[in-house]
Symmetry: C2
Subunit: 344 residues, 2 copies
DNA sequence: CGCCTTTATGCAATCGATTACATTCCAACT
DNA sequence: AGTTGGAATGTAATCGATTGCATAAAGGCG
């Protein structure tokens, strides 16, 4: 068809009005008369007009897009969060830019560039292990009130956070195992320095202590949320002389790796040890045995984060008392945890 | 610091040259003298200049970003493909926009809008089930030579495709099972109408026939790549009176769901039936039992797709003889497949 | 020395939408 | 009738980078 797509000028010509009127009609229909509104609508249809976002961005200093920063694109944990974010953004005409921390750093970009070169109006950061220097730059940026964290976050910063009830989830997990009769409970942690790892670990220690459980230091096994770390943790568990009868892993991937490695060494879950995870990935239900887990509603986290960000973008100078959101978690009990059977 | 970020004007003033010279220095350093090059570089540093992408986009009619369209954001299968794409794009200063078919349609957007409103310079489409009307629009668009498909594609269109060797992968799979002594082999397919499903299914039929295997119609079980469909397929398998001794699933998720459901009904893999998948997800290795699969290098698919797209964007009118790329697959044999043990 | 070529730079228009300000028109009120 | 106010629209500057064309400076050659 037409080799060029049409512009405001074209619409204005067809409708017999000025570009200003067309622009107003499109962005603020109330201020024009009904008759022009109709004429413009008609002309828009006739010319198949689409707004040029670059031009609008340049003039309004709004990119109409949001950057989502992931620690690692290859981790399936994040996909439903993206889905949630996109679900909220896309009807509002916002686009979603994706980047991973690794690649941003590898390519020599700086995060703040996304603001400074007008590529994004806001950021949702899912990486709590961001370099502290980078974070400092972000905090001091004029756009700092258009940055929010989700899932993970960074302590001692003022960014709002959308997260799940990590402490509560851990407490539920420990009590689930306790209620099944387990008194020796181990924990496989997330990566060192990660705020989720830390939360869940300290909640674990608190709760076992509150229940008066014995907790040997070697029952807290360092991991990093990955399948591979789960395997290694299993080896550590196997090597113990006094083995806990239940293990709470800080992520489902850890738990799956843990069970896989146990199986390779002919241990059986839950007969030899009860295992549970955190996240409730789709696969948890379909593992053998199905994995007991703490469910976090990742879709909801994504939507809540996007919603909060959009509010801040819309009213950048308003006071946002709203300092974040906490999404509830729930226990999904499955076959990987079972009543303790007293040793033969 | 400065409330406004600096512009070309600022740099020009500091360097004592015109904006034209600064622009040229930045985008085409060879045409300016060494001394200005140095002065400008110095001024850029001094003013902490970042290019305004909206302005550049408006003037050059280039968005410097690429849209990646996924059928479904929540599917972990795609994450490493994104990683591969991003790995290629990000060093070139290109951003990656993500959208899912569902949401594009739900929000009333049209794909072509991404071109027409100057949001994207190209598209990588990972959805082979796109509405045919949409595809037609894309084919007739002036930007049609900046669209490529990856993994999935649509028959009878001229878009280049980056895909894995589906036929060859299927052949390898069937032969692997054959070599283990299996003569009754079932297949769980992908979704109806999907080009991958079709390729793999017809290759399966061809290969079993080439090996002179018996193939009852009920041994080809309809699925849709998902865990849930795998479970359903397992129920169908269980219900058969003459059960195949091996099952080739069109995706790993199918295979995992299949095995999970079997386990719930007290069948054992591979003792009762050998199972294999396609994709080699990270989890395949860590399942119980570890899943034999056909590995496709998703990172490489992503990178190849991005590379091809960038070439087309750089030289839009060149003839690109290069009509796509085929990424090799390989067999990863694990414990879910085993030598046939003759029935007791 | 004068003319031509080459190289380096500047000037100013341009991309397309938005918006402050100015203008026009009409109704309503004194 | 004259004045005022408000609603609707137009004019033109603006956002910031790019680039065709013009100009200037420097070098080459007879």
């Amino acid at each position: 068809m037409g080799s060029k797509s049409s512009t405001l000028q074209d619409v204005a010509r067809v409708a017999g009005v000025s570009t200003a009127t067309v622009s107003r009609t499109l962005s603020n229909p109330d201020v024009v008369s009904e008759s022009t509104r109709i004429r413009v609508a008609q002309a828009v249809k006739e010319t198949d007009y689409r707004i040029n976002r670059a031009a609008r961005s340049l003039r309004t200093q709004r990119a109409h897009s949001v950057l989502v920063l992931l620690p690692n694109l290859a981790n399936p944990f994040f996909s439903s969060i993206l889905e949630g974010i996109s679900r909220h953004l896309s009807p509002k005409g916002y686009s979603m830019l994706i980047a991973s921390t690794n690649q941003v750093q590898a390519s020599g970009e700086r995060l703040i560039d996304y603001f400074e070169d007008a590529r994004a109006d806001g950021m949702i950061i899912l990486d709590g292990s961001l370099d502290s220097h980078l974070v400092e730059i972000l905090e001091n940026a004029p756009q700092s009130n258009r940055i929010i964290f989700a899932c993970e976050w960074i302590d001692n910063t003022s960014f709002p956070v959308v997260r799940c009830e990590n402490k509560q989830g851990t407490r539920i997990a420990v009590n689930h195992l306790y209620d099944l009769g387990h008194r020796k409970i181990a924990h496989v942690t997330g990566p060192d320095g990660n705020v989720l790892s830390h939360r869940r670990k300290s909640a674990f220690i608190e709760e076992t202590s509150a229940l008066n459980l014995d907790l040997k230091p070697e029952w807290v096994i360092d991991g990093d949320f990955s399948l591979a770390a789960g395997c290694q943790a299993a080896q550590r568990w196997i090597a113990l002389t006094d083995r806990p009868t239940a293990v709470f892993c800080a992520s489902d991937q850890l738990a799956l790796g843990f069970m896989a490695e146990l199986s390779r060494h002919n241990f059986t879950v839950p007969d030899d040890v009860s295992v549970m995870g955190f996240d409730d990935l789709d696969l948890a239900e379909q593992y053998i045995p199905p994995l007991t887990s703490i469910k976090q509603d990742r879709l909801m986290i994504g939507e809540a984060a996007a919603k909060m960000l959009m509010e801040r973008i819309a009213a950048p100078h308003a006071k946002h008392s709203n300092d974040g959101a906490v999404i509830p978690v729930s226990l999904i009990a499955r076959a990987s945890t079972a009543q303790l059977r007293s040793a033969a």
